[in-house]
């Protein structure tokens, strides 16, 4: 142990120390934090004890070894971010296992749990009384709403991004850009309410559909994922170096020719990532679908009847969590969550890889 005078000298010296006291403190803090986590996972009533030890260690460290403590704390914060994603994956997955076991399927004589959830084709597809939980109707509903939504949000969003970053005069940009952000800020339940009252009513009155349809939900979700596409695509277009555009303008191309032949091709992967993220948003949108749909867990006949009053992966969770008293029923909802989580995670990683590649290419160009 260091003496007091030594400690004071070190405090004055403020270099990142590696003396025994600091290491000991970090060990104590780390171990107690780990114990806290383990006890919390075990649902122990003693969780508060190691938590208090951690807090004490942090408090002492903050006073005596602030630099090291701060660094350790920021590290813990970073790790916890990754940890949360891991916990989400693990917990949602574990909870879905019972339903996967019930709905197992057989391929070449091998039984695969959960396979029946996506391969069962005979009616009924979803019947809680007899314990049949096929996710196909929800996957179908999500696919239909997502396709409609992206058909709207993709082209309009990219055009909006072009407008903001390339075409708009300053005054117009200062209106449109915050406007798009506010469009993203309107809560999904408000979109859902408007969709429920206006769009559902319109399709019901004029088109004679039932009160609510995948088509109507797709329209509303398209509007909701529009801001995501605009913002991310605009970032991509903005990141194209000015020198590339100037080169094109200098040889006499018009602004539109430059956009078409230089800016958009160079930003293409970024724009693709933007549309992908829009797809992710559309898949994950919950409240509008929950409020607007009539929740029929079936696949319409013929399959392209987009005016069917169906169900999506998200809406089945939000509408049935309350009456899912049976363990397997609730577990089937978790299975829907697993499908959502994996799909969106793949989309997120893919768009990230695309963006990185684009960044590297651009660094090569300049």
């Amino acid at each position: 142990m260091a003496t007091r005078s030594e400690l004071e000298r070190r405090l004055a010296d403020v270099s990142v120390g590696d003396d025994a006291a600091e290491i000991g403190l970090q060990v104590i803090g780390g171990l107690s934090l780990l114990t806290t986590l383990v006890l919390f996972l075990l649902n122990s009533s003693l969780t508060a004890v190691p938590l208090l030890i951690t807090l004490a260690a942090v408090g002492y460290g903050w006073i005596r070894h602030q630099a090291t403590t701060a660094r350790a704390l920021t590290f813990v914060a970073t790790v916890s971010t990754v940890l949360i994603l891991g916990l989400i994956a693990v917990f949602v997955f574990i909870e879905s296992i019972p339903a996967a076991e019930v709905m197992s399927g057989t391929v070449f004589g091998i039984t695969i749990p959960g396979l029946g959830m996506v391969t069962r084709l005979q009616e009924p597809l979803w019947q809680t009384t007899t314990g049949i939980y096929s996710l196909l109707p929800m996957v179908y509903g999500t696919a239909v709403t997502t396709v409609i939504a992206v058909a709207i949000a993709g082209p309009l969003g990219v055009a909006g991004a072009l407008f903001i970053s390339e075409i708009a005069p300053n005054w117009a940009r200062e209106i449109v850009k915050p406007g798009v952000e506010i469009l993203a800020g309107i809560p999904s339940i408000v979109y859902g309410f408007i969709g429920f009252v206006v769009v559902n009513q319109y399709t019901f009155d004029v088109l004679g559909t039932s009160y609510g349809s995948l088509f109507a939900v797709g329209l509303v979700i398209g509007l909701m994922s529009l801001p995501t596409v605009v913002t991310v695509a605009e970032d991509a277009i903005d990141s194209i170096p000015e020198s590339m555009k100037s080169g094109s303008l200098a040889v006499g191309a018009t602004d539109w020719q430059t956009m078409k032949s230089v800016t958009i091709p160079a930003a293409f992967s970024g724009i693709a990532a933007a549309v992908l993220l829009g797809v992710g948003r559309a898949i994950g949108e919950t409240m509008a679908a929950t409020v607007m749909l009539g929740h029929t867990q079936a696949i319409p006949e013929p399959v392209y009847d987009v005016f069917f009053n169906g169900e999506t992966l998200t809406s089945v969770i939000a509408s049935q969590y309350g009456n899912a008293v049976q363990g397997v029923h609730m577990s089937a909802l978790y299975a829907a969550g697993v499908v959502l989580f994996i799909t969106v995670a793949v989309i997120s990683v893919a768009s990230q890889l695309i963006e990185w590649r684009m960044k590297q290419n651009l660094e090569g160009e300049t």
């Binding site: 590290f75 708009a168 009847d305």
Partner: protein, 573 residues
């Protein structure tokens, strides 16, 4: 951050768009305002300046000054009529105008569309012919682009099939044959007739077909399309506005090309017109959404509101949602939202800022930081309902096995974490390295530099990120629904502050109110929607308005502060 770049390009793009705007044929009074001399050479169009954009400004000035050619005036007029037709189509779709209520000069609405579209279609064909015969001074290319070619072919294929199978009674196969013929003919015309005829004749003719169909009453008010495959049917009041919008857009596009004399500049004007209309439509949608909620919600929200001698009375905001003989309000929901936001912020902001500091200041840029970045983006895009499921599986069993405010706070905190982390990281990254070097040169260590130099400099960006993130989570419904939702119409609000209790045994601090399920504004709205229609719907619109005001105030503050700090940063540099 890219805003530095965008500032430098602002002059150029602003310039472009100013030119663009006058192209719409509206007002051109301040046309030359931003022309910084780079390409504002004011030469008349007739000098045959080639296919480049640089000499066009002069032509545009000709449009707004007295010597605009007749050709350009006609083209501008046609574009104007097309845009008005499109806008009218939107109003009809939203039932603001309808065939029963709208009549202009004794002409019914559909005939009006028909007349406008016929005139515009004929006019556009005329423009193309005039350009082709060199009656007007244009610079068309030899060929139309791939995109117009594809659009024209597909549209004529569809039109021919539909007209053939319905009006001419040729049946499905015969209709398809007719469609293939018309598609092929229009393809050949568009391909071979030169750019001016190719981009006007097929489109103008198509617009005329739509116009005549409406004008002759072939599609009248009683008309219904009833496809067997769908559960829906399509009456004229849904189909006609869509046709009018589509034809109006096509005509505006084609007319704008003609107005700029075809060629590269024509294509630029056509595309810019469509893109600008798209942007205007977004703002219109935003205004319509907010306006709609205000119109529906202001009444219920302000009911009983008065400022008197006894102070301000605002029952909608201060009353519980249920109670004997009282006017319903959303007080419990507001309190619930406040506590959810406070909890989420105090949980996730330290984590987010800490992680951002570690990632930008301490960590080696490499696999680890990339991995964290992937994880952060994964968290950002994880659907909110999955967060809800996670809270239900992870938190609820650990908090007395009931839904609770605390679980809601933590789940919303998890959702806030990636939002704050991404923006904080950007903010810290954008602090110039000179700041760090200057501080290090004074002999202080890294942490002191971070604490006294980096974090204060990055603070505006961090706070803006937090505000925008809070705006986002304050409106989240799905996670609250799954982990924190209590009675649908609560009669009292949680009193969190007064119910902290301390004890000697673990867990030492308890707060029963935090462990109770509560309400929140978005959840309250959800409860109202699912409860049914009728009188409660007015209550719902009031709640929606309050929610919108809460959320959008966060957004407005966030956006305004960001603009302010960015300007300040730009001035300092």
């Amino acid at each position: 951050m890219t805003h530095d770049d965008s500032e430098t390009t602002a002059g150029r793009t602003g310039h472009t768009a100013d030119r663009m705007r006058t192209d719409g044929g509206s007002d051109g009074a301040d046309r030359m305002r931003t022309d910084g001399g780079s390409d504002g050479v004011d030469q008349p169009r007739a000098d045959g300046g080639g296919g480049f954009g640089v000499d066009r400004t002069g032509t545009r000035s000709a449009l707004v000054q007295a010597d605009a050619t007749l050709y350009e005036r006609i083209a501008a007029g046609l574009v104007g009529v097309s845009i008005v037709t499109f806008a009218l189509g939107v109003t009809t779709l939203f039932q603001v105008t309808s065939v029963e209520s709208t009549e202009v000069l004794g002409i019914g609405l559909y005939q009006l569309y028909g007349l406008a579209l016929t005139v515009v279609g004929v006019g556009i064909v005329g423009l193309g012919v005039a350009s082709n015969r060199e009656w007007a001074d244009t610079e068309p290319d030899a060929y139309v682009g791939v995109v117009p070619l594809a659009i024209v072919t597909v549209l004529w294929l569809a039109t021919g099939s539909i007209v053939g199978s319905t009006v001419l009674g040729a049946g499905a196969v015969g209709g398809l044959l007719i469609g293939l013929t018309t598609g092929a003919v229009s393809f050949l015309i568009a391909l071979r007739a030169g750019e001016d005829l190719g981009s006007t004749l097929p489109i103008g003719a198509l617009v005329v077909v739509v116009g005549v169909t409406l004008l002759t009453g072939l599609i009248g008010p009683e008309w219904v399309w009833n496809p067997q495959e769908f559960v829906a049917s399509f009456p004229s009041e849904a189909v006609v506005p869509v046709f009018a919008q589509g034809a109006g857009l096509l005509a505006a596009w084609s007319g704008a090309k003609a107005h700029a004399g075809f060629g590269t500049r024509g294509r630029q004007q056509g595309s810019f017109l469509l893109i600008s209309m798209n942007a205007a439509a977004m703002i219109a949608v935003l205004a319509a959404l907010i306006g709609f909620v205000i119109v529906r919600g202001a009444g219920p929200m302000l009911e009983g509101f008065q400022i008197g001698a006894s102070g301000i009375e605002f029952p909608f905001v201060t009353n519980p949602s249920q109670g004997l003989g009282i006017q319903r309000g959303v007080y419990p929901a507001i309190v619930g939202t406040v506590w959810l936001v406070v909890g989420a912020v105090s949980f996730s902001v330290p984590l987010a800022v800490g992680a951002a500091v570690f990632l930008t200041e301490y960590a080696e840029q490499g696999t680890f930081t990339r991995g964290v970045e992937v994880a952060t983006n994964g968290l950002w895009s994880t659907p909110s309902v999955v967060y809800g499921l996670f809270g239900l599986a992870f938190l609820v069993p650990r908090f007395n096995d009931t839904r609770s405010l605390l679980a809601g706070q933590l789940v919303l905190g998890f959702m806030l974490l990636p939002l704050c982390l991404i923006t904080s990281r950007e903010a810290i990254k954008s602090v110039p390295d000179e700041y760090r070097d200057a501080s290090a040169a004074l002999g202080v260590n890294k942490w002191q530099t971070i604490r006294s130099v980096v974090l204060p400099a990055a603070m505006p960006g961090i706070i803006t990120g937090i505000i925008l993130g809070v705006g986002r989570i304050a409106g989240e419904t799905a996670p609250i629904l799954l982990v924190a939702s209590g009675p649908t119409f609560p009669s009292s609000a949680p009193n969190v502050l007064a119910s902290f209790q301390f004890q000697a045994s673990p867990p030492f601090v308890t707060n029963p109110e935090l462990l109770e399920a509560g309400s929140a504004l978005p959840y309250q709205l959800y409860a109202i929607i699912t409860a049914g229609v009728g009188e409660t719907q007015a209550f719902g619109w009031g709640t929606a308005l309050v929610l919108l005001i809460v959320v959008l105030s966060f957004y407005t503050i966030g956006i305004v502060s960001r603009i302010y700090f960015r300007r300040k940063l730009n001035r300092e540099q």
